[in-house]
Structure formats: structure tokens, C-alpha cells
């Protein structure tokens, strides 16, 4: 539904988006991850036809963003960063205005407004002016605005910034739900957010896409090795002799001995399922196991790895 090819955009001498290529389809929640100033917002602005690219093409829902921009905009719901809204309008008044400019037929307007109020949890504030609302509620009104015409594609720029933890969870669940049938593209620089919500992650840094894949793919890419922590009741010499004999162990570190309990950090070859194999070794030798833990390489490492490398 979104196809981006070799998109480039620069402001003066700064290249904000540099030869970016990716695509996305319905039923996906695509997380746009990157440090501040990486080019996330610029890419979104190009996709929503707010800005145009210097080079490259982008088609959204089959329409070219530059040539058929009105058609593109009909198919998109967009929430810009920090939810800019008309503060002098009432919540209902604003949503009603949106139904008009979105050309929603008169007889469906009420129903659409009701639906987005329910999905975004706006019931408590429908009487208020937008200017009186807290940051969290404004964000929700912004989201409601982007959903009002039931668009097949939703583009959200940092939808959870400024929200409290329970609101963040609500918005994430909302995004997940919407993403079951539609395409949601959202940006964030908060890492747990993507692993919690996205079906696919694009990591962007200095305007370039540095990684593209599911959260699991990205973690395993960065891993290379499996790391297992093990703590056993046994004698140090026999345990170490055993460890040296194991083929899949590439390296081990003795962490400590305490009352006849020894602990090790073991680096094993990827795909060896080291934790399970080690368990069998322990059982065969009749040791008793007090701790066996596989260290997960999380997205944070992937992210830091990829973004640091680029900067260096």
C-alpha cells in the first residue's frame, strides 16, 4: 500500500532523507525507529504530501504522492508530531469540521464522530474546548481526527509522546487493533514501544534506513552468539573440564563461587540452543541446577549498534 523508492530530501545542505526505499502492506504495523533528527518526520511529511521529495518516488494506496496528492490524502489519516489542533474549537466542533472537509456524507457524520469518540476514549471531554484539554487528551483528539474517515492507511508521528503509562498502553492497543486490517505507520524513539506494537521495524539513522525486519529478526541479526548464565552446585574443576569439552561453547567466564555454588557466563554458537544442551549436561553429571538463564539481546542493543556504527 505504501511503496517508497530511493526517496531523497534535503534542507539546504543537510540531507534529511537519503535514498530511502521500503514498502508496507495492509495488516502491518510498521514502526519507524530512529534517534531525534533521523528523518522520520520528513519521510512522513513526504508520504502525507505535506512536503515533496527532491528525488525518488513514493506511492500511497496506488497513487503517486506528487502527481495525485489529493487522492493520496483521501486514503491517509495523519497525526503530526505533538498533535497540533485548533485550540479555540470545541472537541465536537473540531471533529465535525473534519467530517466536512473529509467529505463524509451528512447522514454518516454523527455515526463517525460517535465511533471515533468511543475508540479514542473521548467521552469525558466532548463538552470541552480543545484548548482546555491535557496533552494526553489532545493527542487522543488528534488520533480521533486521523481516524474519522476510516482511512486504510494511518500515519502517526510519535503518537505516544507526552502520555502517561496507562494512556501509552491504551494507544498501543488501539494501534495494534487498527493494524489488524489496515496499515499503520508510526514513528517513535522509544524502544519498548516498537517491540510491543510493531509487526515490522524500520530503523532510520541520518536519513538512511539501517535495518528493516520483524523485531525477532532484528534481535537475532544483532546477536551472533547465544549467551547463557548458569549457576550449578558442583566443583569448579569438574564443571570447567566439562565446559571445555563442549563443542558449542565458544567461551566461558567464571563469575564466582559461593558455598560450593559456581556460576558462569557462557557464550555459545548461535542456533546451538545452548541452554537446553547445558541442562542435559547438568543432568548427566548429577549436579544440581540453581539458575539457568538465556540472556536476550534486545532491540536496544540492535538500535545502539546500528545507530552508533553510522555515526562513527
Amino acid at each position: 500500500m505504501i511503496e517508497v523508492k530511493e526517496l531523497t530530501k534535503s534542507y539546504g545542505t543537510t540531507v534529511a532523507v537519503d535514498n530511502v526505499t521500503f514498502d508496507a502492506h495492509a495488516g502491518e504495523v510498521l514502526g519507524f525507529l530512529g534517534p531525534n533528527g533521523a528523518g522520520k518526520t520528513t519521510t512522513m511529511r513526504i508520504l502525507t504530501c505535506y512536503l515533496s521529495a527532491d528525488a525518488g518516488t513514493a506511492t500511497v494506496a496506488g497513487y503517486d504522492v506528487f502527481e495525485e496528492s489529493v487522492e493520496v490524502r483521501k486514503n491517509i489519516g495523519y497525526l503530526p508530531e505533538s498533535a497540533p489542533l485548533y485550540t479555540d474549537m470545541g472537541v465536537i466542533e473540531y471533529l465535525n469540521f473534519m467530517t466536512q472537509v473529509r467529505n463524509i456524507p451528512k447522514n454518516q457524520r454523527k455515526e463517525r464522530i460517535r465511533t471515533v469518540i468511543d475508540t479514542c476514549g473521548l467521552d469525558d471531554v466532548i463538552q470541552k474546548d480543545i484548548g482546555e484539554l491535557s496533552k494526553g487528551y489532545r493527542q487522543r483528539v488528534g488520533l480521533a481526527q486521523s481516524l474519522i474517515h476510516d482511512p486504510p492507511i494511518l500515519i502517526l508521528d510519535e503518537p505516544t509522546s507526552g502520555l502517561d503509562p496507562s494512556q501509552i498502553i491504551e494507544i498501543r492497543n488501539l494501534i495494534k487493533n487498527i493494524g489488524q486490517e489496515k496499515l499503520v505507520l508510526f514513528s517513535t524513539h522509544i524502544l519498548p514501544e516498537v517491540s510491543a506494537t510493531c509487526s515490522r521495524i524500520l530503523i532510520i539513522n541520518n536519513g538512511k534506513i539501517v535495518a528493516n525486519g520483524t523485531p525477532e529478526e532484528l534481535s537475532s541479526q544483532a546477536k551472533g552468539e547465544e549467551i547463557v548464565h548458569i549457576t550449578i552446585r558442583g566443583t569448579q574443576e569438574t564443571v570447567e573440564a566439562q565446559l571445555n569439552a563442549l563443542e558449542f561453547v565458544s567461551q566461558w567466564n567464571h563469575i564466582g563461587t559461593d558455598n560450593g555454588i559456581v556460576s558462569y557466563q557462557i557464550n555459545a554458537v548461535q542456533g546451538s540452543e545452548a541452554a537446553e544442551a547445558l541442562f542435559h549436561v547438568v543432568v548427566e553429571n548429577g549436579w544440581s541446577l540453581t539458575e539457568l538463564r538465556q540472556e536476550s539481546v534486545d532491540l536496544e542493543d540492535v538500535f545502539l549498534n546500528l545507530t552508533d556504527k553510522e555515526q562513527a
Partner: protein, 238 residues
């Protein structure tokens, strides 16, 4: 068309949900009424030429204040990003905003009808010049609005938009005034006197609704609305 109507309604309402409209109407009526009656009884003639004659100068300060927020505020708040990603053509937004500000002008001018009615009560003015005067007022006001609107597209700072608007209107006004015309080189004289904002207005004031004057104002409005559209679109130029 429905888009323009929706935008017009929204912008027009927003004038009245903020103090701008009330301040504008009050000050405009207050100042023009005061300036009018100050000389009205001295001259002792049932006519409104004095009132109409002041308008190019009063508009100079009032109209850019009406238009300054139209784009600058949207840019400052960032709401322009939602607005311009709606399935609306840029020119529709420009026209909607222009018509909303024109609506405010019409309301104000309608309220100022108190003046001609009191003149009619006190004497017997020439109805023809009154009507053509009001038509001229709206045409000239429209031109000021279009210029102010264009100034507002250039910046995200309302004060800057206001000053740019005043400056642009002032330049267009003054080149048609005698002070400049008599000092201008001969070859510039016809150009300046044609382009001057006030000259066509004065000829309308004389009670002659000449199509050239109407065309002048309409094309000036069209030109600045076109420039505004270009300016709004310029973010997408490559």
C-alpha cells in the same frame, strides 16, 4: 465548493470565538464614527464623503490586523500540517480563508450603516453616492484583505505578518496619491496612478461605478490570492 464553505464557516466562527472580531468591530466603528461626526456638524452637509475619504487610511491599520493570523497562526501552531494534508486543494483553503475575512468586513461595514442612516435622518444625502461608496468600500477592503492574507502566508509570526501587510498596502496606496504622483517621473505617472489603491476608490466615490475600477479591484484580489496560493504551495517546490 463544500470544502470552501466548511473552511469559510470555521474561520469565520473562529474570528468570533476569539476577541479579534469584537475588538475590530468596536474600534473600527468607534474611530470611524468619531472621525466622521467630528467634522460632520462643522461642515453641516448631509453627505458622507468625509467618512469614505478616511477609509483607505483606516483600513491600512485595521485590515492587516484581521488577516495576520490566517496563515501565521496555523504555521505557528503546526495546524497547517493537518490542514494541508486534508484532501483539499491549496487554492480552496486560500479562498476559504479570504472569504471568511471578507465576511468579517461585510459584517463590520453593515454595522457602520448606522452612520448613513443617521445622515439620512438629519438631511437628504444622495442615495446613489452612498451605495456606490459602500460598494467601493467593500471592493477596496477586499483588495487590502487579499494583500494582508498574502503577507500572512510569508511568515509564522503574526506581528511580522501585520507589519508586512501594512507596508505592502501602504506602498500600493501611496503610489496613487498626489504626494508621490507629482514627484514621480512622467513615464511612471500613468502606471502609478493606475495601480494606486485609493485612486479607483475615489472615482467610485464620485458615484460612477466604472467597470474599469471594479475590474482593477477584482484583479488585484485575484492576483494576491494567486500569490498566496503559490506561497502556500512553495513548501512543495523542488
Amino acid at each position: 465548493m463544500t470544502n470552501i464553505a466548511a473552511l469559510l464557516k470555521k474561520e469565520f466562527k473562529s474570528y468570533f470565538s476569539s476577541p479579534i472580531a469584537y475588538i475590530f468591530i468596536t474600534f473600527f466603528l468607534g474611530i470611524s464614527g468619531w472621525l466622521f461626526f467630528r467634522s460632520f456638524f462643522l461642515v453641516n452637509q448631509a453627505e458622507m464623503r468625509g467618512f469614505f475619504g478616511l477609509m483607505p487610511w483606516i483600513f491600512l491599520f485595521f485590515i492587516p490586523a484581521v488577516t495576520m493570523k490566517l496563515w501565521a497562526e496555523e504555521k505557528k501552531l503546526g495546524t497547517v500540517e493537518i490542514l494541508m494534508t486534508l484532501p483539499i486543494q491549496d487554492y480552496e483553503v486560500v479562498i476559504g480563508k479570504f472569504l471568511a475575512s471578507f465576511g468579517l468586513l461585510v459584517v463590520t461595514v453593515l454595522l457602520s450603516l448606522v452612520l448613513p442612516f443617521s445622515v439620512m435622518y438629519l438631511g437628504n444625502p444622495d442615495g446613489g453616492t452612498l451605495i456606490s461608496g459602500y460598494i467601493g468600500l467593500l471592493l477596496m477592503g477586499g483588495a487590502y484583505l487579499a494583500i494582508g492574507l498574502f503577507a500572512s502566508t510569508l511568515t509564522e509570526n503574526q506581528i511580522v505578518a501585520f507589519i508586512l501587510g501594512i507596508t505592502a498596502c501602504f506602498v500600493l496606496l501611496i503610489i496613487g496619491e498626489d504626494i508621490v504622483l507629482f514627484n514621480a517621473p512622467n513615464w511612471l505617472f500613468p502606471i502609478f496612478s493606475y495601480l494606486g489603491l485609493g485612486a479607483h476608490y475615489s472615482s467610485i466615490l464620485r458615484g460612477v461605478l466604472d467597470s474599469r475600477d471594479i475590474i482593477y479591484y477584482l484583479s488585484l484580489i485575484g492576483f494576491f490570492l494567486y500569490l498566496s496560493t503559490l506561497s502556500v504551495e512553495s513548501r512543495k517546490w523542488r
